[in-house]
């Protein structure tokens, strides 16, 4: 190409009009998009708005791993309206995009508006305004994050979603187990159930209206389904032995569960209308932790039929199970990516347990975390992030990692031990 350029140059020598030089660019850099989110202007009672919307947006964008928000201390100016923006200032600090906004209180409502700018092109990319009550201010902030994310990455944002998780608190002899649902950034936790006996394995229904979980409140493992809006629940299975690992089918009509009623733990599929049971696995050992593929055609589960805990895949209609994992001496706790192409799992190798992602197409396994006891991976509904449980000191906490492994962040939640996070579907 360069030769062509020189040839063009030679031609240019002969003719008085100069023609263009062509330069090849064969690589770039990979990394987060630098963005500046300026604190929103506030017009209302008090010195600040009830929620710091720009801070929520910055945290969301940072947590996704795709953006790097300029720290507040590095902001060169604080415009709140388009007319106040001087692009040269922002070019100097090398941010590609700028977000400014305003909140205006009017009685019980808040008018929230924001604008997203392309700094180097010097134009507006998006601008919206909303009218919400106080209790929805955080939701609007997450919605703004979604809009910015989609405009700049082309992918759907998952900031306006929720997570369900279990906490334990109290002394070892007097523990309290709580099942909660919170915003995906850990804020606004709502208690779903409290118990003195263990609570485990929460699972979202595909429409996000219900949670299935395992409760030992009756001194044995039993599966319940609870409506989140009303709190009403029903006991789904209470067979002798294990009742565990409930997983909703993508069409919401069945639940895959683990039962040991026939002697050892096997996978069963239960019709939620008729309660009819269909056994899916047959092995002398352990078969548990079923998870449906997004197309509903197969189920991945954990089995030790090969001598150690590994992941297997079986058609949902029944048949031969095929082994999926061949690296490491322990692979369990699978979760499917929303596009059905990847599986996150707890991967044990060399003494530690980490979150790894298996690409089903290529068979490549990639370890994303470096804790010693990481567990319970769950994909975000846009497939870009994985939330999981990890240890920090003596505490159990939640963390999120981008699917390419490049960005990891701890979620700051309440005190106590937090475990078993599950990300809600979209629209919650």
């Amino acid at each position: 190409m360069r030769k062509l350029g020189l040839i063009l140059l030679l031609l240019a020598v002969v003719r008085p009009a100069w023609s263009a030089l062509t330069i090849e660019i064969t690589q770039g850099v990979e990394g987060a998009i630098p963005i500046a989110v300026v604190p929103f202007g506030w017009s209302g009672a008090g010195t600040a708005a009830p929620e710091n919307i720009s801070a929520i947006v910055s945290a969301d964008l940072n947590r996704s791993g795709r953006f790097e928000a300029l720290p507040d201390s590095d902001l060169v100016a604080h415009p709140t309206e388009a007319g106040q923006v001087q692009f040269q200032n922002w070019r100097m600090v090398n941010v590609d995009n700028l977000v400014i906004g305003k909140i205006v209180e009017t009685g019980q409502q808040y008018s929230v508006q924001f604008q997203l700018f392309d700094v180097f092109r010097g134009n507006q990319v998006a601008g919206y305004s909303f009218n919400v009550g106080r209790q929805d201010l955080r939701r609007v902030a997450h919605h703004i994050s979604d809009l910015i994310y989609e405009k700049l990455t082309g992918e759907r944002g998952a900031f306006n979603t929720q997570i369900a998780y279990v906490t334990t608190s109290g002394s070892p002899a007097n523990k309290t187990y709580t099942l909660l649902v919170a915003d995906s950034d850990g804020y606004n936790p709502q208690t779903i159930l409290t118990s003195k006996e263990p609570l485990m394995s929460p699972g979202w229904s595909p429409d996000g209206s219900q949670l299935a979980y395992v409760s030992f409140e009756n001194k044995a493992a039993q599966i319940y389904i609870q409506q989140l809006s009303t709190g009403t629940r029903r006991k789904l299975t209470s067979f002798k032995g294990i009742n565990g690992a409930p997983s909703w089918s993508p069409d919401g009509r069945s639940l895959a569960v683990t039962l040991s009623r026939d002697g050892n733990p096997e996978i069963y599929i239960m019709d939620l209308k008729s309660n009819a049971l269909r056994r899916l696995t047959q092995s002398a050992g352990i078969d548990t932790e079923p998870v449906w593929a997004p197309d509903g055609k197969s189920i991945v589960f954990t089995s030790d039929r090969g001598g150690s805990a590994q992941l297997y895949r079986v058609p949902a209609s029944g048949g031969q199970a095929q082994r999926l994992t061949f690296e490491g001496n322990y692979n369990a706790g699978a979760d499917f990516s929303p596009d059905g192409r990847k599986i996150a799992m707890v991967h044990g190798a060399g003494g530690g347990y980490r979150i790894a992602v298996l690409d089903l197409g290529s068979g490549n396994l990639r370890v994303l975390t470096d804790g010693r006891l990481d567990e319970s991976p769950s994909f975000s509904p846009n497939g870009s992030m994985i939330i999981y449980a990890t240890g920090e000191g003596n505490r159990e906490v939640l963390a999120a990692v981008s699917v390419d492994g490049r960005f990891r962040q701890r979620l700051s939640l309440q005190a106590g031990n937090v475990r078993e996070p599950v990300w809600s579907p979209f629209g919650k």
């Binding site: 020598v13 263009a20 770039g28 092109r121």
Partner: protein
Amino acid sequence: MWQAVRENPRAVAYAVLMHLVLLTLLVFSLDWTPKISHPPGIKVPIEAELVDQRQLQALEEKKLAEQRRRDEAEKQRLAEAEAKAEAERKREAEQKHKAEAAARAKVEAEQKRKAEAAAKVKAEAEQKRKAEAAARAEQKRESEAKAKAEAEQKRKAEAAARAKAEAERKRKAEAAARAKAEAEQHRREAELQAQIAAEQEEARARSALSEYIPYIQDKVQRNWLRPPGSAAGLSCLIKVRLIPGGDVVSATVVRSSGDPLFDRSVETAVLKASPLPLPTDATLFNHFREINFNFDPGR
């Protein structure tokens, strides 16, 4: 035949004579004696002598033999005569032939002589004619040659005149051409000088390019945030206009990658890389006024 007889009387006479002789001989050689034939009833007086049957037989046989001998001799004689006659005839025929042949030959020879004579005459006549013709031709040639020579002279004279005129024209044209060539020469020299100057400039530009292209590439690459989700194999060509100093005043996508996010990242990259590093020699700016960037990571 009668002409032949008349023309060759002697030959004919001899022939007739021969024939007569032969005829005579023939006649005399024949036995005209009639044989006595005794009628059966009449007994021939025999000299009676008692003869032995055997003797009689012998006699009979003798007689027979004699007769036979005689017959044979006769036959022989006849044959001989015949043969002779034949021979004669042959001889005669031959002679005739010979004579005829001779006569023919004569005739032929005569004819030949005549023909030769005629031919001779003809030839002589022919020669005469030829000579006359030659003489005439010669005359003609001479007169023609003369005419030719005259014409030639005329032509030469004309040609000479033309040549003169031509030469004159040539001289004029050459003079003009020379003048033109000189002017051309001047122009070419000027052009050459310009070319040299341009080549020098080009050389400077080339070295500047080879020095600065890597800097430009590096700065743009450092500022290009590749969208992580984009497909492999995308490429985008963008045209960038600069002002002296390297500031980018316009960036337009010339060939889109098909992915708007990729295109936008490319635009942002060149805008962020502004001002591009350019050589300090402002005279080389024209080579960098407009730059196309082909973003083609390949993978």
